[in-house]
């Protein structure tokens, strides 16, 4: 079998072959349409846009409701609550917008990029899908109470049925959004999971080998300590130190 030079030497001697390759069109990089379009990012940004718009509409409707129901303390309390929730949801949406840009910033180190994206899709994204579903219920409530205002009162004739239908609608929306985004998200999650396994592989195997040798290291230290202790005591007894 023929023996070759070391990996480092082979690489050093041959890398100019790659460097010589010609790829035209650097000057046109700004016209790049990005053939590898990040569809996930586009879908999420479209959802985010719709989500924030709906919340703005809800907030405006709730301000109108606060005016319309100003003589009704119960309704004021309810609409204040809904307005506060809408504003909190808007805040979360803006935070998400900023976070998406941050987690996909290519200037991060590789491991951070992977872990940030995994955390995003595991936590932030899941929370947000629930928020989108709840937003539709909030908007629907805001519209209903504004339209069905009866001289400053609003009556839900069957509160249990109303609650049940609203809860069903929220759940239905959650499932629909997940199903629509599922194919793209599944591919991304598999990819991230694969990359994550590659990033933790080194730490895991390193930790495993450390754990494997730890009992021996401890035993060795004990033996040395006992031996040294014996010699010290022996020295004291013998030489009266």
């Amino acid at each position: 079998m023929e023996k070759r030079d070391s990996l480092e030497k082979i690489w050093k001697q041959g890398r100019s072959n790659i460097e010589k390759q010609e790829i035209p069109g650097e000057e046109n990089f700004r016209k790049t349409t990005g053939k590898r379009l990040n569809l996930n990012k586009i879908v999420i940004e479209v959802y985010l846009g719709i989500y924030l718009l709906m919340l703005l509409v809800t907030a405006v409707l709730e301000i109108m409701n606060l005016n319309v129901y100003k003589g009704n303390p119960n309704m004021i309390a309810v609409h204040s609550g809904v307005l506060a929730v809408s504003l909190a949801f808007i805040g979360y949406g803006i935070r998400l917008w900023v976070k998406i840009r941050r987690i996909q910033h290519p200037g991060q180190d590789l491991a951070s990029m992977i872990h940030n994206q995994i955390r995003f899709y595991k936590i932030d994204y899941e929370v947000w899908i629930w928020m989108i579903s709840l937003t539709v219920a909030l908007t629907s409530f805001a519209i209903n109470t504004l339209i069905d205002n009866d001289n400053g009162t609003y009556r839900i004739n069957n509160p249990y049925r109303y609650t049940g239908i609203m809860a069903g609608m929220v759940l239905f929306l959650y499932v629909m959004i997940k199903m629509v985004h599922y194919p793209l998200l599944k591919e991304l999650r598999i990819r991230l999971s694969d990359l994550s396994a590659q990033t933790t592989e080194a730490t895991d195997s390193f930790e495993k080998s450390r754990r494997k040798w730890r009992p021996w290291a401890i035993a060795g230290l004990i033996v040395v300590a006992v031996l040294l202790g014996y010699l010290v005591i022996l020295g004291i007894l013998r030489f009266g130190l």
Partner: protein, 166 residues
């Protein structure tokens, strides 16, 4: 007409083109893919060009952006059995043994998982442990362990093809 910023950027790209080609050739399956990936890398570099404040070496930053772009490329996920065999054709002198050795080594590196490819590329390009750590996010100790494993893996891959490496 190009702005001063664009001229500065393009000058930077020309100076580091070799680096970019090395990254793209390891993460793309054919010439068309290399060209696509190269353009994507340029776009990402351009987008983060203004944000680069010189906290690290320019080459470290370029490696980071290029490797992130290459590794996060989803299309790579779709691996047909034949695609893995199509390696970019490297211009090589038929009399030159070192070019042939390099071609075989390059093909073996492409067989490795994406993160391992990044680490071994940075190691073979003689970046320091600190620089590799900054780019990958792994500790320097992890990198040393990993490089050792990757080299063994590469030697094994090459041995299977009948090449023994020192």
């Amino acid at each position: 007409m190009q702005t001063e910023k664009e001229n500065k950027f393009l000058e930077m790209i020309r100076l580091h083109k070799g680096l970019l080609m090395k990254v793209c050739s390891l993460y793309a399956t054919d010439r068309e893919e290399i060209a696509d990936l190269y353009q994507d890398v340029l776009l990402n570099l351009w987008r983060s060009f203004e944000g680069f404040r010189g906290e690290s070496k320019l080459s470290t930053w370029i490696y980071k952006v290029a490797l992130n772009t290459a590794i996060m490329n989803l299309r790579q996920k779709i691996q047909h059995p034949l695609a893995r065999q199509v390696v970019p054709e490297l211009p090589a002198d038929p009399i030159d043994d070192s070019a042939e050795d390099f071609r075989i080594l390059h093909a073996a590196i492409r067989e490795l998982p994406e993160m391992d490819r990044a680490i071994i590329l940075l190691y073979l390009e003689e970046l320091s442990g600190t620089e590799i750590s900054r780019i990958t996010g792994f500790s320097e100790v992890n990198i040393r362990v990993r490089v050792s494993r990757i080299k063994s893996k590469l030697k094994e891959l090459l041995l299977r093809q009948g090449y023994q490496i020192n």
